[in-house]
Amino acid sequence: MSVIVRVPTILRSYTGGEAEIAGEGATLNDVLHDLETRHAGLLTRVLDDNGKIRRFVNVYVNEEDVRFEQGLETPTPSGTAVSILAAVAGG
């Protein structure tokens, strides 16, 4: 039940410089909390004080913005690719 999580440069201080890290969990929320056990501090950069995805952060599960899926409850079966990105880009 392993998923690969890509993290942006701006968060790689929490991953020892790694661009991709492995996580476990049935949902995106579970995966993020699992990552926090090995990469302390990462979680609060992605989620706000109310436990929601921050306004300027986009999270994608298999290339789909989770805001179009089930948000933090989006399922993350084994082999899922998760990508965390800064939302402010483009135009």
Partner: protein
């Protein structure tokens, strides 16, 4: 002027987060390390006079002292020198809409026929300062043209990413410049997401990702030009198309700077935003009074405005609210009508974004939101020749006849 990196960004002194105001050094970065909010350029302007600007070149570089570029930006030969496009007084369209004073700011006059040449020129200058060898972008078409052309002129490599279902006129007009043109099986938001990942993976200067703070400042030149061309004064109302929302916020920023610098008299102005119904996340949030913008899956002929997850949406809403403007949206049918109305009354063939803007202007007047007795400027940001598909089912031959005078007389009444 110097900055901590000893890089020449002219009057720019640093970057600052628009949300939490945490400062950042000038460099290839676009989001705040603290809160992921957008970084903006911060300046210390010296004294700038109308005369200095008027003595400058007939391009955006006459405003170099107001942009994050070296003072000698105008003297760089490997540049397409965009800007200083026509501000056309539009009597016929004004009459048709029952307006007193209307101007079209027509950015078809730019080197690749859209306002994107402005933002790219500033981003390319920053990219050169920062030493990038490859320039890149995520685009709905116009930006792709502008990046590919500017890179060709500057002699640097470009890699341009666009949705693979764009209008042929926008694909060909990027490819011709010899860029690496990558078609993505997806919509613009997919392309944009991919580009954020590539920006972390390759050492590219992405004009609308890691160079975005500089790029976005280029849009201010549209605001400066409008004011200068009106004789150094601000219009009462401006109608601006919204894709990411960046352009609208920068028109406002330009007006505020001109007032602060004493280059125009302070006066109230109203800024209106224009979207297509098939991609109206900013108009939807404005109507419903939300302070966040809910992303959408776009479905409209106005592909250049089809950004479902607009980065500057909330800030565009702030500007419309603060200036007592509005943000509206129109159907694809209204967009086609808008394109034809502008062409038939003013001889300006706009791309779909221009149709969106003109159709919204009409609708704002009909709804009593925009005052037709006040001086109004409407932005046309692109050229209809790139999006012929949008109206090719609606216009064409009036009649086809054999090559005989008799047939002509029968077909075309006196």
């Amino acid at each position: 002027m110097t900055n901590p990196n000893q890089l020449d960004f002219g009057p720019a002194t640093g970057l600052i987060c628009r949300e939490c105001e945490t400062p950042a050094e000038l460099g290839a970065r676009h989001v705040c390390a603290e809160c992921f909010g957008p970084l903006e350029v911060k300046y210390e302007f010296g004294a700038i006079t109308r005369e200095q600007i008027e003595a400058g070149p007939r391009s955006i570089w006459r405003y170099a002292a107001l942009l994050p570029v070296p003072a000698d930006a105008a003297n760089r030969p490997l540049d397409l020198a965009p800007g200083f496009t026509k501000l056309q007084e539009s009597h016929n369209l004004a009459q048709r809409l029952g307006m007193t004073k209307l101007w079209i700011k027509d950015d078809r006059d730019n080197p690749t026929h859209s306002f994107k040449d402005r933002v790219v020129a500033v981003a390319m200058t920053a990219g050169k300062t920062l030493g990038f060898k490859t320039i890149s972008c995520a685009s709905t078409g116009n930006l792709a043209n502008a990046v590919a052309a500017a890179a060709a002129r500057a002699g640097v490599k470009s890699v341009v990413l666009i949705p693979d279902n764009l209008e042929q006129g926008k694909v060909v007009t990027s490819a011709v410049y010899g860029t690496t043109l990558v078609g993505i099986h997806g919509n613009y938001d997919d392309v944009n997401r991919l580009c954020s990942e590539i920006a972390d993976d390759r050492g590219y200067g992405f004009v609308n990702v890691n160079l975005r703070p500089y790029y976005a400042e280029g849009s201010k030149t549209l605001g400066y030009e409008i004011a200068e061309q009106l004789g150094w004064r601000l219009p009462d109302q401006v109608v601006v198309p919204i894709a990411s929302g960046s352009l609208l916020t920068k028109i406002d920023k330009a007006f505020k700077e001109l007032i602060a610098l004493g280059l125009v008299e302070a006066k109230p102005y109203r800024i209106f935003g224009a979207q297509a119904t098939g991609c109206n996340p900013v108009a939807e949030a404005f109507e419903k009074g939300w302070d966040v913008v809910r992303p959408q899956k776009p479905n409209t002929i106005a592909k250049s405005l089809a950004i479902g997850n607009p980065a500057d949406g909330p800030y565009a809403i702030d500007v419309a609210n603060r200036t007592n403007g509005s943000i509206g949206h129109v159907s694809d049918e209204q967009i086609v009508d808008g394109i034809r109305l502008l062409a038939e009354t003013e001889g300006i063939f706009a791309e779909t974004a221009g149709g969106v803007t003109v159709a919204n202007l009409k609708q704002f007047i009909e709804r009593g939101e925009l005052d037709p007795t006040l001086e109004t400027v409407v932005l046309n940001t692109g050229d209809g020749l790139k999006t012929i598909e949008a109206i090719s089912d609606n216009v064409g031959f009036t009649v086809t006849i054999p090559p005989s005078l008799e047939a002509f007389r029968a077909a075309v009444p006196e």
